[in-house]
């Protein structure tokens, strides 16, 4: 039980973090629903190409490495933030953002490739499910990137207190969460897709 003497500020940080975890849980449900949808529709290719015909593992492996590395670099940024080292925090955040951007660029490239090859989302239920699942993850990455850029901007401006701040911690939770979701996408959509 929180005592009435703990400051309001600490209390609200605690609440915010807990609330953010609950939000992440709702996002898990959201992705779980999309995964379920994908699982139901993955063979409904309407006589068009299936996962096996479309995906290249090497390409996706590179995407995966980019995102995993970005999680690592984000961790470094947080460590420097704890040490009150603003410059290094900003540097590592920037690297994280660059890695995220590269990931996004690769994903968009892949989408574009599929569409120009005639395998757009409207071609079959499988492709609808694929674009929606992977695209929703991509949308989350975009939100994460905006968040990172805003954080960098605020750190530079000095309006973001580098120590004990919730914003960077929660962004960390969010970014790692997207990583974990991606691992699932990588395994269920790409690995199993190519294997089976």
């Amino acid at each position: 039980m929180t005592k009435p003497h703990t400051t309001n500020h600490e209390q609200s940080l605690d609440k915010a973090k807990f609330g953010f975890w609950v939000y992440v849980m709702t996002d898990c449900v959201l992705f779980a629903t999309l995964f379920a949808t994908y699982a139901v529709l993955r063979n409904n290719t309407a006589e068009g190409p299936s996962a096996k015909d479309l995906f290249s593992l090497n390409f996706v492996l590179l995407e995966t490495m980019l995102l995993l590395t970005s999680s690592f670099t984000y961790g470094l940024a947080l460590i420097f933030a704890k040490q009150n080292n603003k410059k290094m925090t900003i540097n590592w955040l920037t690297i994280t953002a660059m890695l995220g951007l590269s990931f996004l660029a690769m994903e968009l490239y892949e989408f574009n490739h599929l569409i120009t090859e005639g395998h757009a989302w409207s071609a079959s239920a499988f492709l609808s499910a694929y674009f929606t699942l992977v695209g929703t993850h991509g949308l989350h990455i975009i939100i994460g990137l905006i968040w990172i850029f805003v954080s960098i901007f605020r750190l530079k401006q000095g309006t973001l207190n580098i120590k004990n701040n919730n914003s960077l911690t929660m962004l960390g939770i969010f970014w790692h969460f997207l990583d974990i979701i991606w691992i699932f996408i990588f395994s269920f959509v790409y690995l199993i897709g190519v294997a089976l």
């Binding site: 807990f18 629903t33 309407a46 989302w121």
Partner: protein
């Protein structure tokens, strides 16, 4: 430029013109009144931008009441049509309008009336019951409300511009797909629900954190009032299932907007998946609504029986098992899909199992009354009405849980009667009881008792007259949603009786409006002379004044055990005037929630009408407004201990500053 929007989208049928005119007229009248009485600024500062959970609660209820009137109007039109359209008569509505009306009725009643009343009451009561000054995230609370309001505006816009969905309240594809519903109706349905559903999801997070993190010192989970427990169960369900709704609606929207094939019947789409997904949300939704109603009765029955709640632990177990079980019953909404005997039997049995904890609750309430001293104030009349209707509804529900029986009554008026037993008898009666019970807490005066009892009595009788015939019609083989039937079937007189029942319920609603008006007029005589504890309450919300100060409690109460107010009243240790006050930090008013929701409305409206630039403006607005709000630091202001002391002295004397 304006997508699909053109002048021919204005209403053309007499009844829809009437609806549109009353909507626009009401809006103009209210705005004109506010301007004339110079109240716009006051409204903006004191209400619309307020983060005070009590005011947000009142605003939720205001919207819910407006929507109740519209939903009830829809009900009257439906029954009027069915009472008339026998044989050669075509009644008063075209098939298309009739189908829009019943789709709107279900959507409005669940999403905007029941959800609105629920979040309204939770907002009003929960923080007070927990001994907290506000909810965990006051801004998020305001945002939730405004998203709800934005959905409300969007669904009402469909009355004036364009049309509403004609595919039923859950819009099963392929009927709701582009091929069979090319118009804007289904899109209005999708985006109104999507926007308000997002608000509900945020509220779910907010109240869950409030319960787990904001209880007064000393209040263990097992000391919480049962209402708080039911809210906990309900919000856990919101968190678990509203994301499913978000996804389902999005997928349907993607089918309609981008030509995807999730639920189409061609190119591999799977409409059955939609039905599974929507009920994976939809069934828990029923429990989301009814659990807090159970909580309300668990507060009311002990207070009006002057006796401790019977079987608190049993109650908690019952609530939690209902919460868990409600996840694994959704398939009972479509046994008729041919899922196979084993699957059907499993889901049927799970459904019946839910009736066990629900039955336990009923017995616990009855034995709370047993050897008590019961006074029949109007909340208790609602409770008795609830016991009668809800038990019958539970019984018909168990019948329908047996797949072999369900094949015969599914989609019939028997089903319609059953779920109205649950939703009106359970949810509506519960919330009406709650509104009457907590009304004096927030206004300082009681609602007129005689009119309240009359209203409850009219509702109960109207309910029997309106839905009894539907059970009979269902057994006669009458399906739901028919706008016309053969005279030789001999259904007309039953539909006429059902129509009379709806009118009686309408008289009940009118009595409630009269009751509200009369009580405001006679507020001096109906004043709560106890200054905050008119029913001799047991829980913390009754320990502060009526209305409570915006910081709820000048000193956060220390709690020992259940029914803490009652215990301290019995021990005569209530010290209303504490001498030492500390500074209090309260959230500042903000219009960020309104702005965000206005942008969300633009997105919704833009997507309904394919006005892409408008949707883009909305999207950028949302992003920029979110960044601006989240990067701002000064969300709070401090009330000094001195000011509180001054305020408290006046407040406890019953004078204003």
């Amino acid at each position: 430029m304006f997508g699909r929007l053109g002048f021919d989208d204005l209403p053309t049928e007499l009844i829809t013109i009437g609806g549109a005119l009353s909507m626009v007229g009401g809006l103009i009248a209210v705005t004109a009144g506010l301007i004339y009485f110079k109240k716009l600024g006051w409204l903006w500062r004191n209400w619309l931008t307020s983060l005070d959970h009590k005011k947000i609660g009142v605003m939720y209820i205001a919207i819910a009441v407006i929507m109740l009137l519209r939903g009830a109007g829809d009900a009257v039109m439906m029954r009027a049509q069915q009472a008339l359209a026998s044989g050669d008569s075509t009644g008063i509505l075209s098939s298309d309008t009739f189908q829009q009306v019943f789709s709107a009725h279900g959507t409005i009643m669940i999403f905007f009336v029941a959800m609105g009343l629920m979040f309204g009451l939770i907002n009003l009561v929960l923080p007070l019951q927990l001994g907290a000054r506000d909810v965990a995230f006051p801004f998020l609370n305001s945002l939730s409300f405004w998203l709800f309001a934005s959905g409300f505006v969007l669904i009402n816009a469909s009355l004036v511009i364009g049309e509403f969905s004609a595919a039923g309240w859950l819009a099963y594809p392929p009927l709701s797909g582009l091929e069979y519903s090319p118009g804007v109706g289904v899109d209005y349905w999708i985006w109104a629900l999507q926007i308000s559903g997002l608000g509900s999801l945020l509220s779910g997070i907010n109240f869950l954190v409030t319960i787990l993190k904001m209880r007064a010192p000393g209040m263990k989970l097992m000391d919480m009032p049962i209402f708080a427990w039911t809210v906990l169960g309900s919000m856990m369900l919101v968190i678990a299932v509203f994301p499913i709704l978000t996804v389902t609606l999005s997928l349907l929207a993607l089918d309609r907007l981008m030509g995807m094939n999730f639920f189409t019947s061609t190119l591999g789409g799977n409409p059955m998946m939609y039905i599974n997904l929507i009920w994976a949300w939809g069934h828990p939704e029923v429990y989301i609504l009814v659990l807090p109603a159970f909580g309300i009765f668990s507060e009311i029955v002990p207070v009006f029986s002057k006796k401790k709640l019977f079987g608190y632990t049993s109650m908690v177990w019952a609530i939690m098992s209902i919460t868990v079980l409600s996840f694994i019953v959704w398939l009972h909404h479509f046994f008729t899909m041919g899922g196979g005997a084993k699957v059907n039997a499993f889901f049927g049995i799970m459904t019946m199992v839910i009736s066990i904890p629900t039955g336990v609750k009923v017995f616990n309430w009855l034995f709370t009354m047993f050897r008590g001293k019961i006074t029949y104030s109007s909340p208790m009349i609602w409770f008795l009405g609830f016991i009668a209707t809800f038990t019958i509804g539970g019984m018909t529900g168990v019948l329908m849980a047996v797949p072999a029986i369900d094949f015969q009554v599914h989609n019939s008026l028997f089903l319609v009667a059953h779920f109205h037993n649950m939703i009106i008898g359970g949810v509506v009666f519960g919330y009406m009881a709650g509104l009457t019970y907590w009304f004096p807490k927030f206004t300082g005066f009681k609602l007129h008792e005689g009119l309240g009892k009359l209203a409850a009595w009219l509702w109960i009788n109207g309910f029997i007259v309106a839905f009894g015939p539907l059970y009979i019609l269902g057994l006669m083989g009458a399906t739901r949603r028919i706008d016309h039937y053969d005279a030789s079937l001999g259904w007309q007189w039953l539909f006429i009786i059902a129509g009379i029942g709806v009118l009686i319920i309408g008289a009940g609603i009118a009595t409630q409006i009269l009751q509200l008006g009369y009580s405001i007029w006679k507020r001096k005589e109906l004043r709560d002379s106890t200054n905050g504890d008119p029913w001799d309450g047991r829980t913390l919300e009754w320990s502060t004044t009526a209305p409570p100060p915006h910081y709820n409690f000048a000193v956060i109460p220390e709690v020992k055990g259940q029914d803490s107010l009652w215990t301290s009243k019995q021990a005569k240790t209530t010290t209303k005037q504490s001498t030492t006050y500390n500074d209090i930090e309260m959230p500042k008013n903000t219009d960020a929630g309104i702005k965000l929701s206005a942008f969300a409305f633009l997105i919704g409206f833009g997507l309904v009408w394919h006005i892409w630039w408008l949707a883009l403006i909305g999207l950028f607005g949302v992003i920029i407004q979110t960044i601006l709000h989240l990067t701002k630091d000064d969300h709070e202001y401090t009330i000094s201990a001195k000011d509180i002391k001054l305020h408290e002295q006046h407040r406890l004397k019953g004078t204003s500053l």
